[in-house]
Assembly symmetry: C2
Homo-oligomer: 163 residues x 2
């Protein structure tokens, strides 16, 4: 799956058939989808030798990115951008893999605390060079100004979605 051109041609024809069709917004949405699929596929391929898939990796990295690696499922739902049912499923999987520990939380009996095991820390630190290389490769076609601009614009688009 390569270029965006096949998609774009379809959008242009659509505009011809239905002149009110918002070609630019549709192109943006399609580009986001296109990129997401590419990013997702490449990440899955890179992570496979580590016994992880992209969503599992996302969970682990969000937990790694806390001072003490501890998070509640709700916090993960927000930070990892996954539905709560999926956070449960993913964290169950990671528990089985010995990468996450699940305990109750003090103070609020409804809350669960998830923390990374030492095995997870070791695993994360073992794949960080590969992930680093992949992330740089995936964005490497843009220079640093372009990346900053893109970040600003994507964030602005995110702001248009309800909380």
């Amino acid at each position: 799956m390569a270029s965006f051109a096949p998609t774009e041609q379809r959008l242009d024809v659509t505009l011809g058939k239905y002149p009110a069709f918002p070609r630019q917004p549709a192109a943006l949405v399609r580009l986001v989808k296109h990129l997401y699929k590419q990013i997702h596929d490449e990440a899955n391929a890179m992570l496979r030798p580590y016994g992880l898939n992209h969503p599992e990796y996302n969970i682990l990295m969000m937990m790694y990115g806390t001072p003490d690696t501890a998070m509640n499922p709700s916090q993960l739902t927000e930070a990892a951008g996954e539905k709560s049912a999926n956070v449960t499923r993913l964290t169950n999987e990671l528990c089985q893999k010995g990468l996450i520990a699940r305990t109750g939380s003090d103070g609020d009996r409804r809350k669960v605390t998830l923390t990374l095991t030492p095995a997870a820390i070791a695993l994360i630190e073992s794949f960080l060079p590969d992930i680093t290389a992949l992330l740089k490769r995936q964005t490497g076609h843009l220079d640093s100004t372009e990346q900053a601009d893109l970040e600003r614009l994507l964030k602005k688009m995110v702001e248009g979605f309800p909380a």
Copy 2:
């Protein structure tokens, strides 16, 4: 699921723990994912009363965006950005819904031709106002210059992925 802030905080802490971590590329990738999920969820909600989900809609719109609404599964794979197995599944579903006709192709006996039925055209034209409104809403936080910039930058990022 709202803001990008929870995710971003995790990225900043990660940078502290692993100074070689490419925070900017990681943020871009996460923003793309975040947006895709939002776009996907909103589209699914909007399309549900029409008896469609987002991927089915994508297929229909790609076919609508051709002069004669005819496409091969391979072309759809490229234009809709779906894996071929998924194109088969989606088009089977749309056939069952009476929205797509499937015939053999002249000249190459391996090829299948998919065309929209009149029911599909009618359905598409019935939801186009709603989709139009949704697309405009989803991108409405950006003015037209920003949208054009974003399109250019996203396309440039796409160019960095292999064909």
